[in-house]
Amino acid sequence: MTTATTTTAGLTRPAVSAREYRAARFTDALRSEWTKARTVPSTWWALVAAVVLGIGLGALISALAAHQYAKGLASARAAWDPTSVSSAGLAIAQLAIGVLGVLIVTSEYSSGAIRTGLTAVPRRGRFLAAKAVVVAGLTFVAVEVTAFTAFFIGQALISGHAPTASLGETDVLRALVGCGLEGALIGLFGLALGGLVRNAAGAITVLVAVLWVLPGVAAALPASIQHPVEKFWPTQAGGQVTDVIRQANTLPAWAGFGVMFLFVAIALSAAFFTLNRRDA
């Protein structure tokens, strides 16, 4: 009998060797989540949908709105905000962004991969935080690319038909950066919903309800209810940061963003709490 030189686990050294390794850190979990996000097609489909819809619809809406401008009432001309017109397509892009956040977590529940993931990273807070950073980063970059591209295309289409905006004007840059920030919050809200509901269909339904259906219902109600909802409903309030001209019944840009930020932070905390308490 010869001495075993190769071990079963295919080690070049014996298993007896000192087991020295460094502890896993947050950055390791982050790298892992980035690999997970970039190696499934659904991530790229959602991002391509967001960018294409955001730019395409933004261009369409810019062209149509610019041609209506001359025929519009004086009040409508006073409220003319060429920056928010060119980024109007982002409302649809946000759905794709929210769905991306949902799928990052629900795809793990539907396949059972969540158990593999939590075995590798058993600290629930680290696990969720790493996902959150990846979702926020991906969605912020995608929405910023969309917002700036849509801005330049939109202003070119508006030019000659209605007043245009330029980056140097007051609050225009803030509004465009705000698009990415709001997009990141919607991605994170999708992530939180995915963690809370644990299934894609349910989480996307809640997402659509919160983003569009409930604010839409409020619009049909008397002004006494409608106005506070418009002002404080998280996704409505968050949208203020993307506008240059402040509309009636709205919070100031950053105050509105703060409301939405707080709302998403609460949703993520709830997601962490359930992830930590429930059996995986």
């Binding site: 460094r22 659904s42 593999t116």
Partner: protein, 316 residues
């Protein structure tokens, strides 16, 4: 470089459960379970389906929260391990992989989470024989390929403790032999190997030590050999002339005798030598005298008969 005899990778990497319980509503899936899984041997974790094996393994991995008691690996709770995949490798559910991801990327994401080098991913893919399909999506894998992928993931961190839940499910005969040798080899290196199965016959070929549970309760915790000895009855098959008289003589000598098939007797309480001598002394002719050993399967069936959750009811 010298190679001594296999020693524990790091001394005392035991899995220790102490008064572990898990309640789901009114059902007590795991009931006050205490056991210790030691390095250097393959420990079989057996019980009928629904006995609580998977729940116990999930609690070891920190996936499920115990309703009572605790379980540690190397003295630590799983969640407190600084890099868990370096300490414990586990295969719980082979299909628990995102179907659109390739085998390589699946393993890479796991390796990165525990600061394991990307080179190790290629190594374990080779070890389980999946290098040729590393770039293919897992959704197209057979159950057997998924089992191999799950084993590759368990081996990524070169851990001193390994846990496999029903690892032979879906494997072809060649794969079953492979994993049996793998588990024995891992234990021979001094690792702690904890493997569950509802198939006693499989454990008979692999396990040195057995932890048997039924309805969440610990039934046995002993060596595989002792398990058969202690729970099984040996008996002797006897054929011969004048069986009625032989039966009376054996009963008179203190044996339990019952009629067997095809003109035979099944005798317990006396060994074959004593039976032969008795027959000789009485001038009775024997045609056949054979000791029957109960198998692990028989012992297991005996033990768990009363604790099987889902048993086919036999029409009376």
């Amino acid at each position: 470089m010298t190679h001594g005899p296999a020693q524990p990778p790091s001394a005392g990497q035991k899995i220790e459960a102490s008064h572990l319980s898990k309640r789901y509503g009114a059902t007590l899936a795991v009931d006050d379970l205490s056991f210790c899984v030691n390095p250097g041997v393959v420990t079989g974790f057996i019980g009928p389906n629904g006995a609580g094996k998977t729940t116990t393994m999930r609690m070891i991995l920190g996936l499920d929260h115990p309703s009572g008691g605790e379980v540690t690996v190397g003295g630590k709770r799983y969640r407190d391990l600084p890099a868990p995949m370096r300490e414990v490798g586990a295969l719980i559910d082979a299909k628990a992989v995102h179907p659109s991801r390739t085998a390589h990327h699946h393993l890479l994401s796991l390796a990165q989470s525990n600061a394991i080098s990307a080179g190790r991913v290629e190594e374990v893919l080779g070890l389980v024989g999946l290098e040729a399909v590393a770039g293919r999506r897992v959704g197209g894998f057979s159950l057997g390929m998924c089992q191999r992928l799950g084993i590759a993931a368990a081996l990524l961190g070169d851990p001193p403790v390994l846990m496999f839940d029903e690892p032979v499910n879906g494997l072809d005969p060649e794969g079953i032999v492979w994993i049996r040798q793998l588990m024995r080899g891992l234990a021979a290196e001094g690792r702690t190997v904890f493997v569950s199965s509802h198939l006693m016959s499989e454990m008979a070929l692999t396990a040195d030590h057995l932890i048997v549970i039924g309805q969440g309760k610990l039934l046995r915790d002993e060596g595989a050999g002792e398990f058969v000895e202690s729970s099984a009855h040996h008996w002797v098959l006897v054929r011969g002339a004048r069986l009625d008289r032989l039966s009376a003589e054996l009963t008179g000598a203190g044996a339990q005798v019952r009629p067997g098939v095809d003109e035979s007797l099944e005798v317990a309480g006396l060994d074959s030598r004593a039976i032969g001598e008795l027959a000789g002394a009485k001038g009775l002719i024997l045609y056949e005298l054979a000791t029957q050993h109960a198998s692990l399967e028989d012992a297991f069936m005996d033990l768990t008969r009363d604790s099987t959750d889902y048993r086919a009811s036999v029409a009376a």
